[in-house]
Symmetry: C2
Subunit: 349 residues, 2 copies
DNA sequence: TCAAATAATTGGATCGTTCCAAATTTGTCA
DNA sequence: TGACAAATTTGGAACGATCCAATTATTTGA
């Protein structure tokens, strides 16, 4: 089993050429004669040679490692799983591989993970920072000239690129849509209040209410963990109010699904007795029943875009921070009672 | 930005010792004097040194790279996301890092990914093989003496360890439970028929029906994609039968959720009008409404166990294949009408 | 046919670390 | 204090690839 490692020298010897030639073949140089190349390739296959990127990487300190790191704060949330898949797609086809780690919202874990990635010589990092991450946590990377793209969450003061979605605008559109359907008491459910994303979305909610001349009731804003379970808890609280809301915009799709679950537990039918709008447009949003009306962020597309941005910076050799706000759009499905249903219902009155 | 790299030699020079001593400090050798160690550590911090694992790894060809690879066939399925999280936990705390890739059920992609991982010198691989993977695809790894642990799916003829769940037993328990509740027409919904997992679970279904003297009706076995959308399609087909089933065991939780969605679209209440049992026990299973009765596989625990098994083999230095069948247990929740509900309902008659 | 140009090949030196055997310092005890 | 053991430290030689400048083989053109 643990046989001797086959190296370029072995190949060279077996093929009757020098190791330099073998190296040239490996990197697809046009300098080598076609016949020689073929001969070398045959030997490579015969001996079962595997390229040692570590060694190669050592010499070409200028060039990069062909590894990009991606760390997310919650892989069990399908939003991030899809994001990772999107990143993997473009990264893979650019000849890179992905180092993926999950921090579970722990900054300590995040620190360890990033340190470890640096030791392995990643040539770039895509980071969805854990809650409480500070600019200082990225100092090492930035000082080392390693491009970083922050996704989903921004870090104040960090001089790195970021790709976040239009949280404010998306939430505003969602609330306006509900108001347009005739809802007056619209709740904002889920999410941790100490995150930038939460506050951006909340602001969108407030601004939209102001736009349509509806009052903002603080008790209609119920924070919770941004998970399915959190959604159940949040709607529970919202339904216990003296004056119940008739509709809700949710921090994300996971919360929205939880809200639907919680509504059913109260014998309320989401989409009919209560309007629910999510945020993210996770794949399940379209197949769920009722199909979830949600603000589409296209997590996979976001992953792809983040990866492209990162690769651009890696290739450019310099990392000037650019902040991209990716636009979102409201996808109207069944969970809020479509406009048509509403009209029909009104015409019956 | 792209400043010169700090190396052991720089540290050595600045601390007034030799590079060998610095190396000793780095690997925490007890040979070095405490005073020296402290001095060196200070300099390391001051100069912002980052360890170059690539270089280290090059020299100590005997030892391993502290990278373990994990490739899954569908990261967007939360079962696998959780599995990956479980792996990450133990791998991380053992000082390794995780190379994670997603194949999306493509053997070609899988081949590329595994090749790339080998080039990076992974010291072990956890693999949930794509459909259609053959023993030959793992030949290189095995020949190279790299331990491999197959999870979830087994590969016939491959001399690698595997950790799969008791598909047969789990499904048998599920069917028996439904039969015990008085169901006679029990469907088997979802999954691709060309996989080992499908056939093991199907066999468990058949054997259980035989055990309780129920006939097997082929039309009650409806295969589909093992996803939420697949579940919707499968229940659709099942409900279109002349003689409808009254209960269903599903290939996995994703399918089960889809089945619940499909039932609601037909104005049927899962757990009351129709009993549904899933397989996997994904986290959402407990928070969903109705909470899903399912065969608990504990994906995260499975990930942890797989990682432990792999680390054991890495440390042992030899990889003798062992096949572990991890036991499962039926978790009764609301989606099948609990035994108590059933009894109550009967007493009313 | 021969010089010049072009194509193809090649031997070290090198990347940043660990290993090894040998050298140096320090400590112990009669 | 001197001999001997133990504790520390250290200079090169690796590891497996790439790079560079230099060499050798092949064409080309007049």
């Amino acid at each position: 089993m643990g046989r001797e490692r086959v190296t370029v020298v072995d190949i060279a010897h077996a093929a009757g050429v020098s190791k330099s030639t073998v190296s040239l073949v490996l990197q697809g140089s046009p300098l080598v004669n076609d016949g020689t190349r073929a001969k070398v390739n045959v030997v490579i296959r015969e001996l079962g040679y595997v390229y040692n990127r570590g060694a190669a990487n050592l010499r070409q300190a200028n060039s990069k490692s062909k590894i990009i790191g991606i760390v997310v704060n919650d892989l069990t949330n399908s939003f991030f799983a899809e994001l990772a898949v999107g990143v993997d797609m473009v990264v893979q086809s650019a000849g890179y591989v992905q180092f993926l780690s999950n921090t579970g919202e722990s900054v300590d874990r995040q620190r360890e993970v990033i340190a470890s990635m640096r030791e392995h010589g990643i040539s770039g990092l895509i980071l969805s920072p854990a809650r409480g991450t500070e600019a200082a946590d990225l100092k090492g990377l930035v000082a080392g000239g390693i491009p970083v793209v922050n996704v989903v969450r921004q870090i104040a003061g960090a001089r790195v690129s970021s790709l976040i979605s239009d949280n404010h605008g998306g939430m505003r559109d969602a609330v306006r849509h509900l108001a347009g359907l005739g809802h007056h008491r619209i709740a904002f459910l889920g999410g941790f209040p100490d995150t930038a994303v939460f506050n951006e979305r909340l602001q969108g909610y407030r601004d939209a209410l102001a736009d349509v001349d509806l009052a903002v009731h603080d008790e209609l804003v119920v924070s919770s963990a941004p998970s399915r379970a959190g959604g159940v808890a949040a709607i529970e609280r919202a339904l216990s109010l003296r004056e119940r809301p008739t509709a809700a915009v949710c921090f994300n799709d996971a919360v929205a699904f939880g809200v639907c679950d919680g509504l059913r537990a109260h014998r309320l039918n989401p989409g009919e007795d209560f309007a629910v709008i999510g945020f993210d447009d996770v794949i399940e949003a379209q197949t769920a029943v009722p199909a979830l009306t949600t603000v589409s962020v296209d997590p996979q597309g976001m992953g792809r875009r983040a990866a492209q941005l990162l690769l651009k910076q890696i290739n450019a050799g310099k990392a000037d921070a650019e902040a991209i706000v990716s636009s979102v759009r409201l996808v109207v499905r069944q969970s809020c009672g479509s406009a048509i249903d509403k009209r029909e219902r009104l015409s019956l009155l």
